[in-house]
Symmetry: C2
Subunit: 235 residues, 2 copies
DNA sequence: ATCTGTGAATCAATTCACAGCC
DNA sequence: GGCTGTGAATTGATTCACAGAT
């Protein structure tokens, strides 16, 4: 597609999704290394810290450009700079949390958000008994204020931590308020327009996947039943 | 490997990881359909509910065996039975939560765990000021009791919701207590023996990935700098 | 006519292996 | 000698497309 088009210097590389998902992990590791005073490291070292193999690290980093030095390794600070640039972390992305229940509380209080460039600009809830309380130093406002908050605070990401039944509604409200990126913690598949990106994290699903591998390691899979037998049991 | 070995009737199929990760999603959808009284559905319908395409649904389900009916579709209840069997959900897997902070609280209270066959058998913390309090009806016990809890309650999965600095320690304790499956919510890569399975969910990483795609959609990637320039800025 | 189940084809991700630079 | 960067090879996942069952 369009290999005739003249692209500006660092050509519009499209980094594979799998690599994109690993960059934040490398970034985190590199940040702790900086705190420890490490200035250089090899793909081998980063690989073992990240729990992947060295070829993958080199390939992943090569998508950013050629920022290592042959025979030497990578300059930690420079690598951090380049990964941050690629991930768009040179400015902060503000976040609004929808749903001030247990999980919403934990999320708003979660340190990893603000320290990684995602300040919580607001927390909203539909339940007026929760509105007015403070969560992580932020006043809980009514969900009706969502468009105002998003506009005034230039929020770019919405986090859904409502019960499953209200999650689709929350998503609709976020989309209407102009949000284009949603992180969803409710155990539902959200229906959103094409141009909106959604990542869903379902704690139950994570456990079920673990459960599968736990079972595999025990090799005690139960025998199967026929449709008739199952129907009988479910009466 | 060993295709001479006689395997018992439903041959030891090894389901692709990507498919395993989708089965719980299908399961959840099917369960809500049952509640609505739907008895039959086609791969097309399930696909659109799950937000994937129909060929993928059919291939995924075919790993379980041939449990659909050509020209008709799948029997919802039977499919639920088969997916549960494959995932090892015919019995419950007990869970212990390590770290009774904000997130630990939210997790212990999270409904999706117990309703999906993962009862919380215990919550432990290292901080004695938290020990003795109740979380989600469960007494918080000291982390030293971990081996006892795991043994007495036959816990099979450990959930880590400690601060990052204590997560590796928590993992070591879990492994020593005999746990082989860990769900880790701390933003660290855990170092565990080969035979232990770990899934890590890092909320910050999830946001950073979203941030990347948000930036892509805006196409305002900042210009890059040389190593010299970056070094100057970082003084 | 409809919808599953599955080989074959395609597309994506990972790993190998080595040339090129320090 | 050591380590990066990258084509080529491999492995894994997805999609196509159609034979086969109802």
């Amino acid at each position: 597609m369009a290999d005739l088009a003249q692209t500006s210097s660092p050509a519009r590389r499209r980094i594979p999704d799998a690599a994109v998902a690993r960059l934040p992990v490398y970034l985190q590791i590199l940040n702790t290394l900086i705190a420890d005073g490490t200035a250089q490291l090899s793909s081998d070292q980063l690989a073992s810290l990240a729990g992947v193999n060295a070829a993958k690290v080199r390939k992943d980093l090569s998508y950013l450009g050629s920022y290592g030095t042959r025979g030497v390794g990578y300059d930690v600070a420079y690598l951090v700079y380049q990964i941050k640039r690629e991930l768009g972390q040179h400015h902060e992305w503000k976040v609004v949390v929808v749903g001030a229940g247990n999980l919403g509380n934990a999320l708003a209080n979660y340190n990893g958000f603000s320290t990684r460039g995602f300040p919580v600009a607001g927390v909203v809830d539909i339940d007026s008994s929760k509105v007015g309380k403070k969560v992580a130093g932020v006043l809980v406002r009514h969900v009706d204020d969502l468009p105002t908050i998003v506009r005034e605070e230039s929020v770019s990401i919405g986090v859904i931590s409502t019960p499953p039944a209200s999650a689709q509604h929350a998503a609709d409200l976020l989309v209407n308020a102009g949000i284009r990126s949603i992180l969803n913690f409710a155990s539902v598949i959200l229906n959103v327009p094409e141009n909106i990106s959604v990542r869903s994290v379902d704690l139950g699903v994570e456990l079920q996947i673990l459960g599968y591998y736990e079972q595999l390691s025990r090799e005690d899979k139960p025998a199967t039943k026929t449709k008739r037998e199952v129907a009988a049991i479910c009466q």
